[in-house]
């Protein structure tokens, strides 16, 4: 039976051009709550809605710990230790296609972790786990989190 508490494990996600991301393998409840606080917003109808424009960036912020990306001069762009707002500013500086690559890699990681958790719990095939449905509504609905216009 798995631990009740998230361990500080990391996963490397490979990108193109030999670049890579270091991400949290799983989010804690606190990290998930902080992410939700950013992307759940009050709509004109007074109800809470997922801000689908913000969701990919907030998802990336929640999982990212470090990466190998460098600036145009080849100097590493350090993200370890940045605050949420600082990390958001760095992500907003990415080329949009490059951000999509980062986001897609993280989405795939989330799906892989949910599938691994489902295997651990030995759920029937195709069943969604709590981690999938409650952390990424768009992923849970079968849509990649980055598919935002």
């Amino acid at each position: 039976m798995g631990t009740w508490f998230v361990q500080p494990e990391t996963t490397r996600l490979d990108l193109s051009d030999g670049q890579f991301l270091i991400v949290r393998t799983r989010l804690t409840q606190g990290e998930r709550r902080q992410a939700r606080a950013r992307y759940w917003v009050v709509g004109p109808d007074g109800d809470f809605h997922v801000d689908r424009v913000l969701l990919p960036t907030v998802t990336a912020m929640a999982f990212l710990l470090d990466w190998s990306l460098t600036d145009a001069t080849g100097k590493p762009v350090v993200i370890r230790g940045l605050s949420g707002d600082e990390l958001m500013a760095v992500l907003d500086g990415l080329d949009p296609d490059r951000f999509d690559e980062v986001s897609t890699a993280i989405d795939a990681h989330i799906v892989a972790m949910a599938e691994a958790r489902a295997q651990e719990k030995k759920l029937p095939a195709g069943a969604l786990t709590d981690a999938t449905t409650s952390s990424l509504p768009s992923v849970a609905a079968g849509l990649p989190a980055s598919s935002v216009n």
Partner: protein
């Protein structure tokens, strides 16, 4: 006993989690080659600070010095309070600049 390092801000991490923030610390070399840390912890995560392995991290202008935490003793109470720890052999320095 000679003071090896004195500093202002430091932290204790559990993996990538922040377990405690420290304001004001000194590290003293012990006879057996280890280190004794004393300081003031200003915030801590009551769960994470009890996990292992913990690492004490002292930032400097070019990066961070790091030591494994062998034993940790935090005073009772709320708010800023005393911390005392024994540290193991220094880990490789992390250069961030």
């Amino acid at each position: 006993m000679p003071v090896a390092i004195r500093g202002d801000k430091a932290r204790i991490d559990w993996g990538y989690f922040a377990a405690a923030a420290i304001q004001g610390f000194s590290i003293t070399r012990t006879k057996d080659g280890g280190y004794t840390l004393t300081g003031t912890v200003v915030t801590l995560d009551a769960f994470k600070v009890r996990q292992k392995p913990l690492v004490f991290i002292a930032p400097h202008k070019d990066g961070e010095w790091r030591w494994p935490v062998v034993t940790l003793d935090i005073a009772e109470g709320h708010g800023p309070r005393a911390i005392r720890a024994t540290l193991g052999a220094q880990l490789p320095e992390m250069i961030t600049r």
